[in-house]
C-alpha cells in the first residue's frame, strides 16, 4: 500500500449512549484507516459495535442520545465537526450505506425508481426526466432485468435478492468514494449471496469505491476484503491483512473465532468453542476485555492494552509476540 492520504482516517472514536441517566459505552477508542478503493472487512459478534461504527461514519446515530467523540477524517475533513447541513451533502454522495434487511431499509410506499431518483436529485442539479434516466441506468448496472419497468414497481414486488440489488443501485447511484455495507448478504440465501458479492465487488472495483464490509461471516470477508478489522466488546482487537489473520492471527479472540468454525474441525469432533460469553457493556473492564475467556491471560492483562505491532498487522494483546496461535490451518 502506498503512503497516500487515506480516504477514511478514524482516530480515537468513542461512542456512548445515554440510557436512563447514565452513559453506556459502545465504542472505545477506535482507530483505523481505509485507503481509496480499498476493501476492508469488520468482523465481530453481536453487540461488539460493528453497526454503530458504520452508522457513526454517516452521522446516522440519534443526536439526542448518542455521544460521539474522536475524529472521523474523510478526505481530510473531520466529519464530527460538520454541521448537519454539510453532512447531508456528504451522506449519500461521498459516503453511502447499505443494510442487512433491504425490506426495512427501503420505503414501502415509494417505487424503487422514485427512491433512486430522490437520491440523485438531492445531490445533482438534474430534472426529473434526467434523474429517471440515470436511475434506470443504475438499475441496469446492478443487473435488474427490465429496469424501465422495475423503476415503477414497489419494494414488495421484488424478491429478496432483487431488493438488495435495488438498494445497491441507490447507494452507488451518486458514485460515492466509500460504501459502508452492513451485513448486506446475511439475509440472503447462499446462491444469491454469491451473486450479490460478485456484483458489489465488480461495481466498487469499477468505480474505485472503497468498501467497509461489516459482517459476522469470516468466509465472506475472505472472499470480499483485503484487510480485516476484528472487533470485540467495543474495541478493535486486531487489524491485519485477511490472509495474514487467517493463517496467523495474533489475538486469542480472533484465533478462537476462527477455530470455532465447524468447517475447520473434523466431522463430529468436539468444536473448540470459546468458553464463557461476550461481556455486557456494564462488565467492560479497563484492561483486556477478553481476559475472562482467554486461556493465555496473565495478571498483566488486567492493565489497559494498546494496539501494538507493526503496520499492517496491529493487535490489542500484550502477549502477542510470545504466543503462537492457530488460524484456519492447524
Amino acid at each position: 500500500m502506498t503512503a497516500t492520504q487515506p480516504l477514511l482516517d478514524v482516530s480515537g472514536l468513542t461512542i456512548s449512549f445515554r440510557q436512563g441517566g447514565s452513559d453506556v459505552a459502545v465504542i472505545s477508542d477506535l482507530s483505523f484507516a481505509i485507503q481509496p478503493g480499498e476493501s476492508v472487512g469488520m468482523v465481530g459478534e453481536s453487540g461488539c459495535g460493528k453497526t454503530v461504527t458504520g452508522l457513526s461514519l454517516l452521522s446516522l446515530l440519534p443526536p439526542e442520545t448518542a455521544k460521539v467523540s474522536g475524529r472521523i477524517g474523510f478526505d481530510g475533513v473531520d466529519l464530527t465537526k460538520l454541521s448537519p447541513r454539510d453532512m447531508q451533502k456528504i451522506r449519500g454522495r461521498r459516503i453511502a450505506m447499505i443494510f442487512q434487511e433491504p425490506m426495512s431499509a427501503l420505503d414501502p410506499v415509494f417505487t424503487i425508481g422514485q427512491q433512486i431518483s430522490e437520491t440523485i436529485r438531492a445531490h445533482f442539479p438534474v430534472n426529473a426526466r434526467e434523474a429517471r434516466e440515470r436511475a434506470i441506468d443504475a438499475l441496469a448496472a446492478v443487473g435488474i432485468p427490465l429496469p424501465a419497468r422495475r423503476y415503477d414497481e414497489y419494494p414488495h414486488q421484488l424478491s429478496g435478492g432483487m431488493r438488495q440489488r435495488a438498494m445497491i443501485a441507490i447507494a452507488l447511484s451518486c458514485e460515492p468514494r466509500l460504501l459502508v455495507a452492513d451485513e448486506p448478504t446475511t439475509a440472503l440465501d447462499v446462491t444469491v449471496q454469491a451473486q450479490i458479492l460478485d456484483l458489489l465487488l465488480a461495481l466498487t472495483a469499477k468505480s474505485g469505491t472503497a468498501l467497509l464490509f461489516i459482517t459476522h461471516d469470516l468466509g465472506v470477508v475472505a472472499e470480499a476484503c483485503s484487510r480485516v478489522l476484528t472487533m470485540y466488546a467495543g474495541q478493535l482487537v486486531e487489524d491485519a491483512m485477511v490472509d495474514d489473520v487467517l493463517t496467523r492471527p495474533l489475538h486469542p479472540y480472533t484465533s478462537g473465532l476462527l477455530r470455532s468454525l465447524p468447517r475447520l474441525s473434523a466431522a463430529k469432533s468436539v468444536l473448540p468453542a470459546i468458553p464463557g460469553r461476550v461481556p455486557t457493556n456494564a462488565e467492560w473492564q479497563a484492561g483486556c476485555r477478553f481476559v475472562p475467556r482467554c486461556s493465555h491471560a496473565l495478571i498483566a492483562c488486567d492493565a489497559p492494552q494498546l494496539l501494538r505491532g507493526e503496520e499492517p498487522h496491529r493487535v490489542r494483546c500484550g502477549r502477542y509476540s510470545e504466543l503462537s496461535l492457530p488460524g484456519v490451518l492447524p
Binding site: A194, G219, D243, L261, V278
Partner: protein, 338 residues
C-alpha cells in the same frame, strides 16, 4: 430394522390467498431416519424445509403421503394414542426467543411438558427440571429467571431442555444455531453432540449452513422447491456431489481461507428460487441450471438410486459423474480436516 422415522411421498400444500392458488411447500418427499442417526436436510429459504420439519412431528397435517413414527402411520393413530406417541418426537426451532413464552419462567417452560403428561408429583417434576437444566449446561438457579434475562445461547439451551423433558427418541432441529453467534453456535453444536452420545438421540438437522450440516450429519438430503434432489452420506454429498444444484450450493459458500487456497471454480447460479405456487415443468431446478436441455422442461427426472443409499434426481447424472464431477467438485478446495 424399522426406521425410527420415515416419510413416504409426503406432500404439504397450502391454499394461497389470491385466485385459489396452491403453494406446494413439500411436494413428494421420501426418506427415513434410523435410531441414533443425524440426518441433515439442506436447502434455501422457500425450499420447504421448515414445513417438512413441522409435518414430521405432526404439527402440520400432510396433504398426501404418509409419516411413520417407529413403523406406525401417525394418520391412523387415535388422538390419545398420538398424544402419547408424539412425546418421543420433539422439535426445536430457530428463534430461541420466539419459542419461549416471555411470561413463563425458564423453570415453568421446561416443566410444562411434564405438567401436561402429569406423571409424577409436583416435587418430582421440579427436581426433574433442575436436572434437565444442569444436563444442558444451564445453572439450575436460572429456573426462576425469565427469558429476557437470558442470553441467546442460554435461551436455546432452555428450549433444548424442554424438548428433552419427555425423553424423546428423535429431535427435529430447525435452523437451531442460525440465530446464534459463531462462538455460541460451537457451544450449542457440542451440546447436541454430547446429548446424542449420552441419550442415543436421533436428530433431523435442518439448516442452510453447509459448515454446520457437514459437521453434524451422518447422511444429508438436499431439498429444492419442495422436493429432494439428492441424498447420500455426508461425505458423498459434500465431497462428491452428483446433482448440479448441490454442486452450485457447495461452490457458493464463501470459505474462510487465504486466497491461494481458494482454488475451486465458483458456480454462480442465475436468478432465485421460483415460486412454489407454479414450479417449473419437468426438473424444478432447470430455470437456474447451467446445463439444462429441452428434456429437462419436458420430463421430471426420476428419483433414482445410485449405489447403497445414494439417491439423485437429474437427467444427466451419468454425464456429471464421468464428465465434470471431479473438477467441478468445489468442496475439494477445503483442506482435509485434521
Amino acid at each position: 430394522m424399522t426406521p425410527l422415522l420415515s416419510v413416504e411421498d409426503l406432500r404439504v400444500y397450502f391454499p394461497s390467498g389470491q385466485r385459489g392458488e396452491t403453494v406446494k411447500a413439500v411436494d413428494g418427499v421420501t426418506f427415513s431416519v434410523g435410531a441414533g442417526e443425524t440426518f441433515g436436510i439442506i436447502g434455501e429459504s422457500g425450499s420447504g424445509k421448515s414445513t417438512l420439519a413441522r409435518a414430521m412431528v405432526g404439527l402440520i397435517p400432510p396433504t398426501d403421503g404418509r409419516i411413520f413414527h417407529a413403523g406406525q402411520d401417525i394418520a391412523t393413530m387415535s388422538g390419545a394414542e398420538f398424544a402419547r406417541h408424539r412425546r418421543s418426537f420433539q422439535i426445536v426451532f430457530q428463534d430461541p426467543n420466539a419459542a419461549l413464552d416471555p411470561r413463563m419462567s425458564i423453570g415453568q417452560t421446561v416443566r410444562e411438558p411434564l405438567d401436561i403428561v402429569n406423571a409424577d408429583s409436583r416435587a418430582d417434576r421440579d427436581r426433574r427440571v433442575l436436572r434437565l437444566l444442569d444436563h444442558v449446561g444451564l445453572n439450575p438457579e436460572l429456573a426462576l429467571r425469565y427469558p429476557h434475562e437470558l442470553s441467546g445461547g442460554q435461551k436455546q439451551r432452555a428450549n433444548i431442555a424442554r424438548a428433552l423433558a419427555l425423553e424423546p427418541k428423535l429431535i427435529v432441529c430447525d435452523e437451531v444455531v442460525a440465530a446464534l453467534d459463531v462462538s455460541i453456535q460451537a457451544d450449542i453444536l457440542n451440546l447436541f453432540a454430547r446429548l446424542q452420545a449420552e441419550l442415543g438421540l436421533a436428530y433431523v438437522f435442518i439448516t442452510h449452513d453447509l459448515g454446520v450440516v457437514g459437521h453434524v450429519a451422518d447422511r444429508i438430503a438436499v431439498m429444492y422447491l419442495g422436493k429432494l434432489v439428492e441424498m447420500g452420506s455426508a461425505d458423498q454429498i459434500l465431497h462428491h456431489p452428483l446433482h448440479p444444484y448441490t454442486k452450485a450450493l457447495l461452490s457458493s459458500e464463501p470459505l474462510p481461507l487465504p486466497k491461494a487456497m481458494r482454488t475451486g471454480t465458483r458456480i454462480v447460479l442465475e436468478g432465485e428460487i421460483p415460486s412454489p405456487v407454479s414450479p417449473p415443468s419437468g426438473c424444478r431446478f432447470r430455470t437456474r441450471c447451467w446445463m439444462t436441455q429441452d428434456k429437462c422442461a419436458e420430463k421430471e427426472p426420476a428419483w433414482l438410486k445410485y449405489g447403497a443409499d445414494r439417491w439423485n434426481a437429474c437427467h444427466f447424472t451419468d454425464f456429471n459423474r464421468d464428465g465434470e464431477a471431479s473438477d467441478r467438485a468445489p468442496s475439494a478446495a477445503m483442506p482435509p480436516a485434521h
